[in-house]
């Protein structure tokens, strides 16, 4: 029903099953650690660590970086960093089992691979900026935040999907 072609590589889980598993995972995460998951926190720690390594005094002065720099602790030693590492490992395992691992750029046949990469970079840029404002991205704010019925989580979720639906028409050439 969901599979557009029967290529084994494209056989994915039934989305409701996936959603159920994800929901159970979120419950388990909250039950064990009291917090939800997140996806941008790990990258943010990398940024902080890099700036700190390159220009430590500048990092100390800045309002933004100094919040994440502790005297004796490496900014990379952080719950989200480990969790991010886990995401990569877990996804790799799942991909390898199904034989989906390969280097390629996935893009619509209507545009070139390079154009896709340029837009991917732009998209990432916007997400990087936006996720800092919103204190979370789709995983941290929308998913985990809404699961505990936080107002911020719902606002972020509705904002992201609402905006994307509103403006999808203008970007259709990129995708279909």
């Amino acid at each position: 029903m969901e599979y557009v072609n029967q290529d084994f590589k494209k056989v994915y889980w039934n989305p409701y099953f996936g959603g159920l598993m994800l929901g159970l995972l979120i419950i388990a995460t909250f039950y064990i650690t009291g917090r939800g998951v997140g996806a941008t926190g790990g990258t943010k720690s990398t940024v902080v660590a890099t700036v700190n390594a390159v220009a430590p005094e500048y990092a100390e002065e800045s309002d933004f970086y100094s919040k994440y720099l502790d005297e004796d602790q490496n900014p990379m030693k952080n719950w989200l960093v480990f969790e991010t590492l886990g995401i990569i490992i877990g996804a790799f395992i799942s991909g390898s089992i199904k034989g989906r691992v390969s280097f390629k750029t996935e893009h619509s046949p209507k545009i070139t691979a390079n154009k896709r990469l340029v837009f991917a970079l732009l998209g990432g840029l916007l997400f990087g900026i936006g996720s800092q404002f919103a204190r979370g991205c789709t995983s941290g704010a929308a998913l985990s935040g809404s699961a505990v019925l936080s107002l911020g989580g719902f606002i972020t979720m509705l904002g992201i999907f609402g905006t994307a639906y509103l403006f999808a028409y203008f970007f259709r050439k990129l995708w279909i």
């Binding site: 650690t33 990258t43 732009l122 904002g159 905006t163 403006f167």
Partner: protein, 196 residues
């Protein structure tokens, strides 16, 4: 009584190991559901593949209901869970920016990591973009700091803000989710197939 680490039932040394394991499960589920493919993800906005909607709403709904039941039966203390702080202006702006990011890039941070893991170059580039984006944000921070902190309402939940019972919210959300799935199936049938 959950949350376990908060109540010292599991010591905090395990925190990072737990983080790793949870991350692995998260990555596995995302990839196995097909979230490592940007064209599959973007289908939700163009009507040819609603996997994002189905997985997301199911996950949030299941999590909500599960947490509330656990709280009611005393296995979990709901008030000890981390609630996202609300910064009205900043979050709305952030969400709008991220919406555009999604349309342009075809990923969200979590899914870009799964794409990265299976070798998708656009996933790599997207993640690099996130890194740059955060960097730009932090460099520009002194200028935007005020807006960043504007609209602060506290660590509010829907219950605090609107005075509704969490159980009603969870039920209504479940209803909305199921209706959305039905509409999605109808739309899916009418939209032209896309090979990806």
């Amino acid at each position: 009584m959950g949350p376990l680490t908060f109540n010292d039932i599991i010591s905090t040394e395990w925190n990072y190991v737990i983080a790793l394991i949870i991350g692995m499960a998260f990555g596995y589920i995302l990839e196995a559901s097909g979230f490592s493919s940007s064209r599959k993800l973007i289908g939700v906005f163009y009507g040819y593949d609603f996997v994002v909607l189905r997985v997301f709403f199911t996950a949030v709904s299941v999590a909500m209901i599960g947490l509330l039941y656990l709280d009611y039966f005393g296995f979990l203390n709901f008030s000890q869970l981390y609630v996202l702080p609300t910064y009205l202006n900043a979050q709305i702006l952030g969400a709008i920016i991220m919406g555009f990011g999604f349309l342009l890039g075809g990923f969200c941070p979590g899914t870009s990591l799964t794409a990265l893991a299976i070798g998708k170059i656009d996933g790599w580039v997207f993640t690099a973009g996130i890194w740059l984006g955060i960097f730009i944000f932090s460099e520009a921070f002194p200028l935007i700091e005020d807006f960043y902190n504007s609209g602060y309402l506290g660590y509010v939940t829907l219950m605090d803000q609107f005075g509704v019972s969490p159980y009603v919210v969870a039920f209504v959300f479940a209803l909305v989710a199921v209706s959305a799935f039905t509409v999605a199936s109808i739309v899916r049938r009418r939209v032209k197939d896309v090979q990806y």
